[in-house]
Symmetry: D2
Subunit: 459 residues, 4 copies
């Protein structure tokens, strides 16, 4: 997964992009990058491993002048060490410098890349995003706008992208609208970001979400729609953004993430009730859902698990390695809350089940009499090919075991998932959604996969 931010027509644009990335840090911690367009149209670029606060010192920021900037945080730097696969991507083509940031995964990138390579294109990275810049550079269309539209029209899959060339910033979402992108204003300029929490920190006001397929150009203080990309039968915004990925203080798909999770939690309490002494969350991602469960059930909300936020890229020493240790170093149970009690633990989703199993061992050691595990989303049964970094089907516990088998594996007294219908009903007025990871219904064609091509790394 990745987070992206763009700033157009505002002094010290790179500093605002920095703030935006800081707010979007939860969408990617492995690498961060900022590009900035100076007065002459030349683009300056800095990309660093790790957190944005670690890599972008005053002296680094001083190399990023100008009023248009792009920023990107990356979940994993697939493609091995080196920053070459990080973003923004910068190329110098016949129209000048071009920078691009991309959130999502293009499902026909491998095929497009093969064609381009056969024609003599030299790829510098292993990420799918690079096909976009080659398609732009090879377009025979005379204007930048047309080149970009021609390139984007050839793509299938998930892409929220922003591009800067000269004094213009282009932003687009794929026809399905898999990944969010919200337009905001700050004084006479514009800010665009993956989530509204970035606009909040920058101090921009929220204007509107970009629509699925929408391509806009921002120049001279004006945002203008260029075209609407087609190809999707219906919009398919990702419901997993609400379930887990987005920050609770963001609005995504027109709904407060906190409110959506509360609704999931309340619906879960209705669907999977159980008698118990208290309910608590796995902090911090399931706080909202657990509170919703507590409200609806009337069972006392507690703080049963404490999370250590200094975990960083925790260094695990050889003697400490082992099944549950990665959990223990991140969480501790509060014995006084748990000891002798029947407890309900609410988590937002169950992917591999490894962390949950470790947590439950911790909770049992703290003296829980009964442990009831509740998940505020359905079983994850299918990988995402639209940009969420998920394991293969073989590693998805929901795809490999029945609910009863999972209950046994986790060693809990009862296990309850939110139903697919219940999840949709809780946010019905904001759908429809892509729920492929829960249902296997893939909204956009998986072109490369169906052709048996080895899928490139994505974001």
């Amino acid at each position: 997964m990745c987070g992206i931010v763009g700033v157009a027509g505002i002094d010290k644009a790179a500093e605002l992009a920095y703030l935006g990335l800081y707010a979007l840090q939860h969408r990617g911690q492995e690498a961060a990058g900022i590009s900035a367009v100076d007065e002459s149209g030349r683009i300056h670029l800095q990309r660093e491993h790790g957190l944005v606060v670690e890599g972008f010192s005053d002296s680094v920021m001083a190399t990023l002048p100008g009023r248009n900037a792009l920023g990107h945080v990356r979940y994993s730097t697939a493609g091995g060490p080196g920053l070459v696969n990080a973003q923004p991507m910068l190329v110098r083509y016949h129209q000048g410098d071009l920078a691009l940031v991309h959130n999502g995964n293009i499902t026909n990138a491998v095929g497009l890349r093969s064609s381009l390579v056969r024609e003599g294109a030299l790829f510098q990275t292993t990420v799918d995003s690079e096909v976009i810049v080659h398609l732009i550079a090879r377009s025979r269309a005379p204007a930048v706008e047309e080149q970009i539209i021609e390139a984007l029209s050839q793509l299938t899959g998930a892409f929220s992208v922003m591009i800067t060339v000269g004094d213009a910033l282009y932003a687009a979402r794929d026809p399905w609208g898999f990944r969010p992108l919200t337009l905001g204003r700050l004084n006479d300029g514009h800010v665009i970001a993956s989530e509204t929490c970035a606009l909040d920190l920058i101090g921009a006001t929220i204007e509107r979400d970009l629509q699925p397929g929408e391509v806009i150009r921002i120049r001279n203080g004006a945002a203008e729609e260029l075209t609407r990309l087609t190809g999707a039968e219906r919009p398919a915004p990702c419901i997993f953004e609400l379930v887990y990925f987005a920050r609770p203080d963001s609005r995504v798909w027109g709904v407060s993430v906190d409110r959506a999770r509360r609704a999931f939690g309340r619906q879960l309490a209705r669907e999977q009730p159980v008698d118990a002494d208290c309910v608590f969350s796995v902090p911090d991602s399931s706080n909202s859902a657990a509170l919703g469960f507590a409200e609806e059930s009337g069972i006392a909300y507690e703080l049963g698990l404490i999370r250590n936020h200094y975990v960083g890229r925790t260094f695990i020493h050889p003697t400490q390695k082992g099944r549950d240790f990665r959990v223990r170093i991140k969480y501790n149970a509060v014995r006084e809350v748990i000891n002798g009690k029947r407890v309900i633990v609410v988590d937002d989703s169950l992917v591999r089940g490894t962390t949950s199993r470790g947590l439950i061992a911790l909770i049992r050691e703290a003296g829980a009499r009964e442990v009831h595990f509740r998940v505020s989303s359905p079983p994850v049964t299918n990988p995402c090919y639209y940009g969420i970094d998920m394991p293969t089907r073989e590693e998805l516990i929901g795809a490999q075991k029945t609910v009863e088998e999972i209950r046994e594996h986790l060693n809990v007294d009862s296990l309850g998932y939110l139903s697919l219908e219940g999840m949709h009903s809780a946010v019905a007025s904001h759908g429809p959604f892509c729920d492929a990871c829960f249902s296997g219904n893939y909204s956009a064609p998986l072109v490369d996969l169906e052709m048996g091509r080895r899928v490139s790394s994505h974001c």
Copy 2:
């Protein structure tokens, strides 16, 4: 403030000390250090700036062999750059290598130091802890035990200390017992730490707290009391550990920190009731108190503020500096929770008031109709001279303004503190306590201060 951990008689002691420091990281983020005693009695030492997870790689850990180790995390490296002031402190004296860790502040250190310097002692650091090792080295007593007791007997103020010499580990608390220190067991060995959360992560079982004035020696798998230091009229454990400093999953002064804070929150609701739509905490330190307030008042508990945990040593760019910006980069308000509502915000303590004021501006911008601020401790009116890093009286808002003036300054509709009596009553069965920062009643003599000496840096 600082956190300390000691491991005695366990293989790979340094790795356990590392884990202990990791759990105690909230007690100090500026520097971390580990010392380890090898088979020959030689002590190896590593000290690094920053978080323990950042500084102690595999290769660093490999230089720390043996079965006895000490660890220390430091809140601030007063005394300027350089790690010389970090701990453990290591000296080679006539009995061999000696390492020491210290949490607290010695109130007659300046005077002792002056005497030692006049006699030709060469001090390497500016921290009060160094007087202890000089006193030990200059003792004419023949045995290490006697040298240590002779040295500690000359100290006034707060000290939880651990010392290793040869195959023995010594631990002691000052006669007032200002700072916590808990003894645990792991197999045939011992683990001692500032808080029980460190014992939990290490996997040690909690045995008992060291008593005020107690000096013990651990050797050959046995912990033996050597003496009981005197000089205190009565014990004076620090109540601020319960209010703010310790982790909620620790037991301190015989009580669960989470339960103590719940009790503070409930008592606060009784003392300072107000009609409102919801109550929320300033995460994460006041979560327990806010939940207690919600329980007692029956007002809905909400997640109104989201904290960005990637803040690290946040880099503030010039254009972003300003009164409230440090708050905004750390917290965001959830508009959907707050907008149009009468909200109660619970915080654990009010020191300078700067952060609170910024938070309230944030909450007002998110559309709160009324803001009621509740503090789950009394006004902080006096600096701590026993080891808590606090500003001077001039900077303590509770010492400079009346409650009504503070209410105006914070721009809230109402402001309510927990009373001193209410605070004590909530944890009455675990006292008496030192409450000097709230009351001005200093339990141990402030020798240097009263002599007009410039007080050295402390921890």
Copy 3:
């Protein structure tokens, strides 16, 4: 300027390339790089700023497996910070991974690049060498050999290049043969390098120089000539390699560099005799020439200047900046040699004159009665467009001033240059040579320059 080395068919090829670069370090100190082809044909690459001994640790070398490797040292990383402009250059094209190293400067690179960019090629660097890989990638020829020959045939100017694709290593010199490249053998494998001193250190035996225009392929232990590039009227090896650039222990253009410089020095003594007490060099580049001058003239050879070899990237503090300071920090005069004497100083060439002027001030301060400056090459009057990094005409003192003006500027009692004819006559049996920097007779067309194109950075 740059130095290149290639290793084919030898275990731990990268380690030998490392040694080769170490011996070629005088040809470029700003960046170093090594690429290595593993068994599967995948190329691994490491590029670092600074000296090869600084950047290539054991752990870096461990990432460079296989039996074919290329190495490159770079004089300046034109194109700003970042290693993207360093070499080897690595691309993944339709035939697999391709690595390239290049010494020289392509005089029609800008024009070729413009055409390629118009066709949609995305350039990653600002160096001329990148046009070669794009030309190869776009070739319609089916075989790698043909693609390479097709690409090289389009180039004008100076290029000694080596390329690896799969299990083959290709080496070529431009038709003029501007830059050296010598083939050696080590057991069953081959080593190719800019200078023979690299073969010496690797332990390879010198086989022969590649001929101007020669293109060879080394595969399965055999070196095979593929073609001979045409376009040059006659060979034009660079005489400046003998004058200054190459190491004295190398053989270049079939002659020992030490012997060539001796011959220049002797010829200089014949052409520009002067009565004096002693002769000394500007160490170390003019040691051979000064010794030749001393031999021929019968005047005593002395060590009048001492060079500080710890100079590195010397840090000049603000108060020390100034005209002569950069000279003083590098050289010191030996007062006992110079005081009261009539001295002859021999230098290899005079480019800007800045260093020489500083040196002479130093020598005068040490008490020289007379200073006679002798230069073992003619005045440098024209920039090199074939790969030697030289200032513009405006900065070339030989282009701006008469010999008498230069004498006055340097503040010497007499100044004598070696004549153009004298220089050629001293190495006549190894010519003809390119002497454009001395004569203005450019051997290969300066295509870009004549078209008024801004010339890209080179090496």
Copy 4:
């Protein structure tokens, strides 16, 4: 070995100390340090591993204000990693801050240290120099001058030291005068350094050498002799400074080092003549001696060996390790000079013989018909206990083998050393000298060694 520099009463003293260290870099490459006294008397200190140009950036220098400064370069950081053993040494004692630099080795340091430790002194380092500061701190004398004199009077062995306290700089040499120290002037201030080449670079004029046993204080622009330490029967300046250690452009013991080495070379030619085609040096340390040999013998001087100056802390890869490889990476032979010739190789001294043996193998491979090895000093037969870092007797080839055995070991046709008498006669007017490493006549008592104490690390 070490080099020291002191600056008194000059603005930006630390920058001048930096320059001085840069010129003295040949005396120690492992660590460098500078201390500076600010207006209030507080001393600021920076110590870094490696070369002075690497460690002392602008930002580091900016932390070193004031008009009095000391500098130190260290040959080896004995005592393990960490800079604690580097110098200047800084302590804060009852008279304020004190910084010290020391060149030499104190032969009764171990005994003094034991006494101090028994009295409760806490040592921070393992170097002998630390006893000096403890002796000063423990002195009961009222004035700093007396404390320093009292401390220095207790020392036996070699010490050129400088100390700053408050606004004064103290400099002293041991009564034997083993190590050099020269006083210079710059405007109204003073500069003191191990060698005159440091004064040259700083731009100071040479005033005079400090005398054996002399102790001076510089304050308010005046240098005043405080006392003359006694205890030596006669002066014993180190002759090895002339043979090898000092820079050829320095004056040491009143003689130009270049001239002294020339005289050694000429005397060697007289004592050990041989018929040959050419003579060359092992660059750069024996250049002067080889030239002297050539002059006296009338045999042609050549440049037969080229030294690679990029060697730094050369990284030797596993496959390249081996007997001669460390030589090959540093030197290359010039085949055209050597092939078929009878050559004389002149080296300054023969310690272990390892490098020489490797060099001769190199020279033989280059085709030498005969190799005659000449050493411009006598066989090194005894370790130095006065500050030159030498191997034990067991490793000294001159102590273990006869000249004929050494000749065989080196595989040369003849081997000739300069005689002890010949060496002295060449510099007779500047003696007497300590020649203990050649003769075993130790001038100052080896107290610790004779008491069987394990000798501490030295400089």
